[in-house]
């Protein structure tokens, strides 16, 4: 099942030209610089931005084509705006009930209590919206959207108006939502950090066009895309907690390419985790180094090499088909005589656990 959309919208200062198929599983991030049309695309999907020249199908339901346009209020969607946009004249509970009570009983898939519990709203229920902090407002807005039993959840940079502390406060709720609900989510963001933690798929946008899309881990390491370049370029690796070693206070994480050793994390065995490996923390050797303090060393194969600035190159390595990036000097690459297909060892100096 999938979401299929095609929009063409010409404005004096901007053209939206998008043709996309999105998986209806998990979180799809729309990523790009501000002004690239992410928000406009999201509003068009919601029917808030009229786009006469468009096509939109969510699973089996056509929301827009040449002859039909389903108005926003007839679309089973949830929308979380950048600012919470709560109804100021209603308290928290009535805000959450607003959408809930307008969905026919037979079509409800999320109970009111479930939405309240998932975002931990219970203690706030009888507050006025003006008595909430920024983070609380956004949680209420998300609960309100979920309580309307949406078939798709659209989120427009829900964290961007919040400071770092509030972001950290909300992130776990978004992550638990990701784990416990099966609603497809389209998440607009220009913050790579949020996307690395939340998204499963990525649509890269530039000047109103979708220039590439695919699974997040693949997209992050594609050397033909801007994401895999620069100082912050990083690969994402899906792993599971394999075992804990209390003697050394370390945890072992298994992924398709091998086993990572990281400082102890209080997580149950088999718990899925996301690992972020920053390209500049990965070095390359031709032989397996033994006398080294680095624990995470993997046999790898050079997949491709792309120049960075004058002195640097970005090397895409495959560890048993799992891609990671290594940012090294052009001189090192020349000394090691790196070429696609060459077998090497990747030394990972540090790795960040995202989940």
């Amino acid at each position: 099942m999938s979401i299929s959309l095609k929009f063409y919208l010409a404005r004096p200062d901007f053209t939206l030209n998008v043709d996309l198929d999105i998986s209806s599983q998990g979180v799809t991030a729309l990523f790009g610089d501000s002004g690239c049309g992410k928000t406009t695309l999201l509003r068009t999907i919601a029917g808030l931005e009229p786009c006469p020249d468009g096509f939109l199908r969510i699973e089996d339901t056509i929301w827009q084509d040449n002859t039909h346009f389903v108005p926003t209020d007839k679309r089973a969607l949830g929308y979380v705006f950048q600012e919470a946009s709560l109804f100021e004249h209603l308290n928290v509970l009535k805000n959450i009930r607003y959408g809930y009570s307008r969905v026919p009983e037979k079509e409800r898939s999320i109970a009111l209590e479930q939405a309240i519990e998932l975002l931990d709203i219970e203690p706030l229920l009888y507050r006025k919206t003006s008595q909430l902090s920024g983070g609380e407002r956004q949680r209420v807005a998300i609960a309100r959207a979920l309580a309307s039993s949406p078939e798709i959840l659209l989120m427009d940079e829900p964290l961007s108006a919040l400071d770092l502390k509030r972001k950290r406060e909300i992130m776990p709720f978004l992550e638990s939502m990701h784990d416990s609900l099966s609603i497809p989510v389209i998440y607009v963001s220009h913050a790579a950090g949020e996307i690395a933690r939340l998204a499963d798929h990525l649509v890269l946008m530039e000047q109103g066009k979708n220039i590439a899309s695919g699974a997040l881990d693949t997209m992050l390491t594609r050397l033909d895309l801007p994401l895999a370049h620069g100082d912050k370029a990083a690969a994402l690796i899906h792993a599971r907690v394999a075992e804990h070693d209390p003697d050394f206070a370390v945890t072992y994480l298994d992924f398709y390419g091998g086993r990572f050793t990281v400082a102890h994390k209080e997580l149950p065995i088999n718990h899925p985790v996301r690992l972020q490996v920053i390209a500049r923390d990965v070095s390359i050797t031709l032989e397996h180094q033994t006398g080294t303090s680095i624990l995470n060393i993997f046999p790898a194969k050079v997949d491709s090499i792309s120049p960075e600035e004058k002195a640097q190159v970005m090397v895409r390595l495959l560890i048993n088909n799992v891609p990671i990036l290594s940012r090294i000097t052009r001189k090192s690459a020349s000394i090691l005589d790196l070429k696609p297909g060459k077998n090497v060892y990747a030394q990972v100096k540090s790795v960040a656990l995202l989940l």
């Binding site: 209020d73 007839k74 949830g78 109804f87 307008r102």
Partner: protein, 231 residues
């Protein structure tokens, strides 16, 4: 006691005035709400033209408005003529005529506060309501009306108070018939003309206090509304 201060005629003028203001305000709300809503939402490039027409009674001498209404409502005017053709009476010098006059005269006092209240709500709450399955009419009553509460209150009180205070229009089309079209402001004028200053005092003082109390309640309630939303 009351009868010594106010004659029977004064009391009937008071009742007619309140009835006139009440009915006119109600009609203005019914007509004015959709018009104000349209003005707040439309991107029509002739919007300014409609706004100017609605604001006309603010600057026009009431006698001018009254004069044209008298002609329109009279037996030879388009509206009066139509009424006669339908088998009714021309509307000049009737209570119905007064209501029509008041509606025109107080129009801007109802439409302008509503329009600015609708404007200040902005698009976002309505968009949020649409994504929560509320249809257009549902959105209007569940979001716009409660958020424009203070605008409605201002519109009601200003419309009502302004109608109570009208003089020129009423004089032109009402004809000052006691018990039918004589309103307070004209009764006061009559008393002064007849040098009955104490009666004029009672009516004027009463009107002053009433108007002040109405405005006081608007400002006090508006303060409470905005405080409600802020806290």
């Amino acid at each position: 006691m009351v009868s010594r201060m106010l004659s029977e005629q004064d009391i009937s003028a008071l009742i007619i005035t309140l009835k006139l203001a009440g009915i006119s305000t109600l009609i203005l709300l019914i007509i004015g709400t959709p018009v104000a809503w349209w003005l707040s939402q439309t991107k029509n490039r002739f919007k300014f033209f409609f706004e100017a027409i609605i604001a006309l009674p603010l600057v026009l001498p009431p006698t001018v408005l009254g004069f044209y209404l008298l002609i329109a409502l009279g037996p030879n005017g388009p509206i009066g003529g139509l009424m006669q053709w339908l088998g009714g009476q021309p509307l000049a010098f009737t209570f119905t005529g007064l209501i029509i006059g008041s509606v025109f005269y107080s129009m801007p006092f109802v439409i302008q506060p509503l329009q600015s209240a609708f404007n200040s709500i902005g698009k976002r709450p309505l968009e949020a309501a649409a994504t929560l399955r509320a249809g257009p009419l549902d959105r209007f009553f569940s979001v716009t009306v409660p958020l424009a509460q203070s605008g409605f209150l201002t519109a009601i009180v200003l419309g009502f108070a302004h109608t109570i205070g009208e003089f020129g229009v009423v004089l032109m089309i009402g004809g000052n018939i006691p018990g039918q079209t004589q309103v307070l402001s004209i009764a006061i004028y009559d008393h002064v003309e007849a040098l009955e200053y104490s009666k004029a005092h009672w009516l004027s003082g009463g009107l002053l206090v009433l108007s002040f109390l109405m405005l006081l309640s608007v400002y006090a309630l508006n303060r409470r509304f905005s405080a409600l939303i802020r806290n």
